[in-house]
Subunit: 320 residues, 2 copies
C-alpha cells in the first residue's frame, strides 16, 4: 500500500503503486484518492489527440524535452493503445522515449485500453489526480481520437491539441468526428510534406466557420484556436507549440476560465463516479448476496421470470 | 398504448407500437413486457452475423422466402446499421425487401444502433420477446460481427450463422474476433467466386481444430458445426441452409439443449436487466432528486469534493 506522504512528495514508486491500485479498481484506491484530491488542481492538463500515425508520441516526446528546458515537471498518460508509451509501436520509438527515463522530473504511464475494471475514462481521470497531487506541473494525456465511446478527453483536460498530418483530409474528418469543437490548438505535424499549407488553410477555414457560425461551442470562450505547424522528429515548431499551450493556460487564468472549467470537470467527474460506484456496489451485491443467489435459483426453477426478478431485486437494492 | 391482447394476436401495428416504447425506454414498456414474457419462449431465434458487404441482408431475404414456403411466420430484427432493413444501404436493396411488405406473416424491424436509451443489447432482447409473444415461429437477428462491444448476439439466439465470402481471409479474422467459438453454421456466401472451395476448406480446418483442441467451447455440445455454400441473389443453397438451421433446432430439442440454453439466456438477461434498471433508477434520481441538486451545489461552492460527494450519495441510494 503506497503512503500518501510519499505520493505527495512525488515519489515515483509510490505513484506507480497507487496507479496500479486504480487500474485494478481496488477499494483502497478510492480511499487514497479521497486523501489526494485536496492536493490536486495545480497541474496544467493537456490533451493530445489524433488518428494513429500522425506522430503524436514523437510530438509529445519533443514537447517533454521543451517543457524540461523550462524546468517544468512533466507527466504523460498514454491512453492511446498504439502509442509507443503503451508499448504498442515499434522498438525504435520505444527506445527513443527511454531518453527521459533517467529524468526524475518526467513520469510516463500508459493505460491499457482494455480490461480496466472501473472503465478507462475513470482510471485516466483518477491517474491525472494522482500525478497532479504528486506535483507535476504539466500532465499530457495522449489519446486516439476524441469523443470515442470509451474515452472523452474533454472530460479531463484544460487544453486540447488536435494533431493531423497533411494530405489525409483529416480536417473534414475532424468536423465529422466532432473533434473540431473541442480543440484549442490544431497541430499540423509532418509539415514538411507537400500539402502542408493546404492542410493549414483548410483547418483555418473550418475554424473560421466555427467562430462565425457560432453553432459550435468554443471550449475556451474568447480564445481564437490556433493552427501550428510542426515536424516532430526534427523539433521544428515545438518551441512555438509549447509557447502556445502555455499562453492558452495564461489566457484561461487571466479570463478567470480555470475555476469554471474546474467546476465543470468536477460535475462531470461526480456524475461518472456516481454511476461507477453504483455499478461497483451492484457487482459486490451480485458476488456476495445470498438473496441474489436465491433469486437466480428461482429463475432456474422457473418460479420467477427475469423481468419480475430484476424489478424486485432493484427495488430492494435502491433506496430511491 | 398498445393492448396486450392485440400484441398476443400478432397485430403488427400493436407490435410496432410496443417496440417503439422499448426503444424509447418508456417506463410502460417494462410493465407490458412483464405481461408478454410468459407468452414468449416458443420461437426459434437465429442470429446472422458477418462483416459488412458479405450479403447478410440478401441472404436473410432469401431465407424469409424459404421459411414462408414452409409456412413459418418470420420476423427479422436488423441491428446491423449497414443493413438495408435499417435503411443503411442502397435503394435497390431496400426495394427488394419490399416484396415481403404485403405478407402479413413477415415482420421486419430495424434497431437504430445509436441513441437507444436503454442500450442496444437490451432493446434487441426485449424486441425478440415481443416478436416471440406475437407468435412468430422464426426470429432472425442480423448484426455486424459478433462480440462487438455494444451487442453480443450469443446473448439472444438459439442458433448462430456466421456469414463470410471467399477471398477475404475472413476465416482468420473469425478466429481473431472469437467468432468461430459462437457459430453453429458457417455460411460461405457469394460462393460462385473463384476462391470458394479454399474458403470452405479453411473454415472446415479451423472448425476441426475447434472440435479437437477443445480449447474453444462448442455452443451446442455434440453438434458438429457445418459449412454451407450459398449464392444469395440466385437462391442457391438457401433451401439447404434453412434445412440446416431447422435441423440444428431439432438437434437441440432432441438433446434437451433448449431448456438449459433458455435458462442460460435468462440468467444473462436477468443480470443485464439488474444493471440497466439500476442505472435507470440512478438517472431518475439525478433528474428529480433535490438531494442530488444540493450536492451539485456543494461541489460548485467547493464545500464538498466530487469523490466524497459521490460516496455519500451512493451510500444513501444503495441499500446494500
Amino acid at each position: 500500500m503506497p503512503e500518501i506522504k510519499d505520493i505527495l512528495l512525488g515519489n515515483q514508486k509510490a505513484g506507480a503503486r497507487m496507479i496500479r491500485l486504480i487500474e485494478n479498481n481496488d477499494r483502497c484506491a478510492f480511499d487514497l484518492l479521497k486523501k489526494l484530491y485536496p492536493h490536486s488542481g495545480n497541474a496544467f492538463i493537456i490533451g493530445i489527440t489524433g488518428s494513429p500515425g500522425v506522430g503524436k508520441s514523437t510530438l509529445i516526446d519533443a514537447m517533454i524535452t521543451e517543457f524540461r528546458k523550462r524546468d517544468f515537471k512533466v507527466a504523460v498518460i498514454a491512453v492511446d493503445p498504439t502509442s509507443p508509451f503503451s508499448g504498442g509501436a515499434i522498438l525504435g520509438d520505444r527506445l527513443r522515449m527511454q531518453r527521459h527515463a533517467a529524468d526524475k522530473k518526467v513520469f510516463i504511464r500508459s493505460m491499457a485500453s482494455r480490461g480496466q475494471k472501473g472503465g478507462l475514462s475513470r482510471a485516466t481521470k483518477d491517474t491525472a489526480i494522482v500525478l497532479d497531487a504528486m506535483g507535476y506541473d504539466i500532465i499530457i494525456i495522449e489519446t486516439v481520437g476524441a469523443g470515442q465511446a470509451e474515452f472523452d478527453i474533454s472530460f479531463c483536460a484544460h487544453s486540447i491539441g488536435i494533431v493531423s498530418i497533411p494530405g489525409t483530409g483529416d480536417g473534414i474528418q475532424a468536423v465529422k468526428a466532432g473533434i473540431l469543437e473541442i480543440g484549442d490548438i490544431f497541430i499540423v505535424n509532418k509539415s514538411d510534406r507537400p500539402d502542408a499549407e493546404a492542410a493549414v488553410l483548410e483547418l483555418e477555414m473550418m475554424l473560421e466557420m466555427r467562430s462565425t457560425q457560432g453553432q459550435i461551442s468554443n471550449p475556451s470562450p474568447g480564445w481564437t484556436p490556433l493552427v501550428q505547424k510542426t515536424i516532430a522528429p526534427k523539433g521544428t515548431g515545438i518551441k512555438e507549440l509549447v509557447d502556445t499551450f502555455l499562453s492558452h493556460f495564461d489566457f484561461m487564468k487571466k479570463k478567470d476560465l480555470i475555476e469554471p472549467k474546474k467546476k465543470d470537470l468536477e460535475r462531470l467527474y461526480f456524475n461518472s463516479l456516481l454511476k461507477d460506484l453504483t455499478l461497483d456496489k451492484l457487482m459486490l451485491f451480485m458476488e456476495s448476496s445470498e438473496e441474489y443467489r436465491n433469486v437466480l435459483q428461482k429463475i432456474k426453477s422457473s418460479s420467477m421470470d427475469p423481468l419480475n426478478a430484476a424489478e424486485i431485486m432493484v427495488n430492494k437494492i435502491i433506496r430511491f
